[in-house]
Amino acid sequence: MLRFIYGDEIDRFPKLKRSMFLDRADQFKTRLGWDVTVDPTGEERDAYDEMNPLYVLWEKPDGTHGGSMRLLPTTGPCMVNDHFLDLTNGVRITSPFVWECTRFCLARDCEPKTAAALMLGGGEVMAGFGVEHYVGVFDARMVRIYRMIGASPEIIGAQGEGRDRISVGLWGFCEAARRTVAERAGIAPETSRMWFERAFGGECRQTLAQTA
């Protein structure tokens, strides 16, 4: 299932949290060889994990991490503006309607539908919170995966070659793309909406309505 969890709540999901940071180490350090920091317990995390980001996660039936991405507002400190200005033509992208999406990660053994499920979750956040674009940082392999699931970003700039290639790209919100992604994920949009509502107090609302 999809989960939407802020950094300061993730301790409530110890299994999910541990496996996410381990999978991130596996993807970004072991497989991609990025210059990221892995702590003595084997977890990859950086300064942006300390800024209370919103994680969108795919939780496997056994409660462990299948995939995830990390969202931050571009009005505050974020990776694209702090580190990748040379890939955005020097444009510091700052808007309440543009959020940053980084650390898109898939567990080694995840189901093929996981990437699409995460994109579907990203769409729920857009629709639910009035976000109009994501600006993301991702690797070469993700470019292919995004294309496969029908959610290709517009690439603004890239650096490096082969598997070291890092790109900055943009996603907009589009109803047609949302349907494609839902189909690839094999998840009804009503279901992902329900997961989103549940994470952000939608159930409270129903309870209130019933008692009113």
Binding site: G128, F129, G130, G201
Partner: protein
């Protein structure tokens, strides 16, 4: 005056505010314009300093401070360190303390409905912008749906101003337009279509949209036309 023109004027008033008193007068005008019972902006710096402006009664503000309701208020608890806008119905009002707080807030005229926009600033500062009103759920849902975008926009308008008025502010770095944004805005101001601008700059229309949105945000403008007008009047672009 049309709604959009009025909102441009109000943003202008906000941007010219030179101190707390003028921020207060801007928020009164804005509250009247949106026809809601209350509007509040509250700012907490990274070292814990606070200020704000708003339309709650003095008695309620005093009561809130005296009772230290910051520690009970589900709006504060639900929004602090977050960055997504939230309808108050979605917050956790289930505790006895929260329900008592809500009843008291309503008795002070705060309203039974609310919508809050938490804001994260460039140096980790936190702010909260809120509108509240007395009406039924359906009317409130219609209001927030129709006005969400502009409320977020005004929330950030207040925040930009607060950041500039805050002591020790380092000037302007975050709001300067990059050469690429200046190019894009100049071509838009010259009357080129988006497709033509994108082609001239060798970027996609999608990328252009984000560059224009980013420039709009930095200029504190309501929409692209307003952003162009502001960039021209400030001499940032020359046509």
């Amino acid at each position: 005056m049309g709604k959009i023109e009025r909102r441009e004027t109000l943003l202008g008033e906000l941007e010219r505010a030179q101190g707390l008193e003028q921020l207060q007068s801007a928020i009164l005008d804005l509250r009247d314009h949106f026809r809601v019972d209350h509007m509040v902006y509250h700012w907490v710096s990274s070292d814990g300093e606070q200020f704000g402006c708003g339309t709650y009664s003095d008695a309620w503000v005093q009561r809130y401070v005296d009772q230290d309701y910051l520690r009970v208020d589900p709006v504060i608890i639900g929004c602090y360190q977050r960055f997504h806008p939230v309808d108050w119905k979605r917050l956790d009002w289930s505790s006895k303390a929260a329900r008592a707080f809500q009843a008291e807030a309503i008795s002070h005229g705060v309203g039974n409905q609310g919508f809050s926009v938490p804001i994260r600033g460039p140096v980790g500062q936190f702010a909260l912008f809120t509108v509240s009103h007395t009406c039924d759920d359906e009317e409130w849902a219609r209001f927030t749906e129709a006005n969400r975008r502009d409320l977020i926009l005004f929330a950030h308008g207040f925040n930009e101003r607060a950041l500039e008025l805050a002591p020790g502010r380092t000037p302007e770095q975050s709001r300067a337009l990059s050469p690429r944004e200046i190019d894009a805005m100049t071509l838009v101001a010259m009357g080129y279509s988006r497709a033509q601008v994108a082609e001239t700059l060798s970027i996609s229309e999608h990328t252009l949209r984000v560059y224009i949105e980013s420039a709009r945000s930095k200029l504190g403008a309501l929409n692209t036309t307003h952003a162009v007008a502001r960039a021209l009047s400030r001499g940032l672009i020359v046509v």
